[in-house]
Amino acid sequence: MPHALAELGYLVASACFIIGLKRLGSPATAASGNRLSAWGMLLAIVVTLLAGGMLSWIEIAAGIVIGGGIGLWMARSVQMTSMPQMVALLNGFGGAASVLVAGAELLKAELGGVVLPVETGVTIQLSLIIGSVTFTGSLIAWAKLQEVMTGKPITYAGQQVVSSLLALAVLGLAAWQVTTPEAALGPFYGVLGIALLLGILLVIPIGGADMPVVIALLNSYSGVAAAMTGFVINNHVLIIAGALVGSSGIILTRIMCKAMKRSLANVLFGAFGAATAGGAGGGKSGAGLTVRSVKADDAAVQLAYAQQVIIVPGYGLAVAQAQHVVRELAELIEKNGGEVKYAIHPVAGRMPGHMNVLLAEANVPYDRLYDMDEINDAFEQADVALIIGANDVVNPAARHDTSSPIYGMPILNADKARSIIVMKRGMNPGFAGIENELFYDPKTAMLFGDAKTSLSALVSEIKAL
């Protein structure tokens, strides 16, 4: 295949990515957009195979079959509730691929006695460093979310000093490698080792619940690493695709931080969840206030005769895997003549859009899900706000308690509903580790227990009415 034709193929692939991302912007076109993007990727692969004068077809086939097979198996078997982990893992693999490509280019040059131009040297080092940090950082994020390791921030004295020194060391070694014309593999191994270590050290002090932000950021890094690899092998489709992913990750990071009203620096270095979690048990509003608990049969009566029900799902829904029962309950209420809406807070759950994906899995039509701004005024007319495993996103302290860590975060106005039913297992705080005064509101009834169990009980009680 002539070079110009290959370039044209890559250009078409880039256009597929762009249009695909654009179509990902609306639920109606998202699926076709994703497929278009996948076709673009296939085109890029085919063009490379035809243009590159491939020699070792067995190696290529092995790599494709092994990687593709594992990827497909993972995509098929992963549970919708484990999506954050899955993205973290895939992200890490992308970083690893960048490291290996850049490493191979460097080894080829060093072992072959070729002196690389400075700019190629620099982009190789950037690709190595960013890719390595992405790789190990993503693995730690995965481990925290999968609960293979503790989700608590791991901190030690002088942590930031150590990390800064290591970062300096990596940069120093990289500069040395770039500026030394003689072949030397020492700095290469050094850069690789320290960058991999750095990825671990940068992520362990971050609490498990902050992992989605970290994943979005690492996603951005993996895009930048791909773009750097594009500079190394002088291929524009890598640069374009990498830049698209790089900016997408950054935007998602910003959206999440904004929705939580925290700065990115606070997420990365604040060790959120360590200090605050300690104070949770003895929160001030707990003292002297009582909680009204309710049984499933009473709650069922209330729901069966309600005209307007707003369901507020939260992280507990994902933990209990209760998305299918929720839909069943909603349909029952509707059969009894009530109207059901879902109120989705932008950071409900542990990942942006988490609740949407779960409820979509349970076949809830997406036009029943309302964004915070769309639905907040409707709570006043609601007979029941049914809060399922949500906590921080309905905590009124965000409105008035200036000392609260979530002060200023916009919340769902569930407290404005005529009555409130909260489903959770006990009085444990949510992600932010703070008390929720809503639970002590006289209008609120607590239905304790695992969300799935409670919901099933409600469903059979209503059926029995």
Binding site: F17, I18, L21, L24, G25, S26, A30, A31, N34, M41, T48, L49, L55, S56, W57, G63, I64, G67, G71, M74, A75, R76, V87, L90, F93, G94, A97, S98, L100, V101, A104, K108, N219, G223, A225, A226, T229, I233, N235, V237, L238, I239, I240, A241, G242, L244, V245, S247, S248, I251, I255, E331, I344, M351, P352, G353, N356, V357, V364, D367
Partner: protein, 97 residues
Amino acid sequence: MSEGIIIGVAIFTLATFLGIELIQRVPPTLHTPLMSGSNAISGITVVGALIIAGGDHGWISSVFGVGALAFAMMNVVGGYAVTDRMLRMFKKDGGGK
């Protein structure tokens, strides 16, 4: 600095601006599929991996090349497949009734 790198920077800059504009419009509903879908796009390093794996560089090709290829393919196939799985669940009118 060669001209090639500046063209690269120009392309990178344009694509970054474009990415920002495109992503800012995506509604929160689609943020999770967006994350996994864009993640799949970053598997474009598969192109670099193929060039290494298909080249004639002895053990570098077979170790680094095949390794990179396998990693990149996991990212690509896994990312697109899982995104597709998620997106096929998004329905406008409860078809499951």
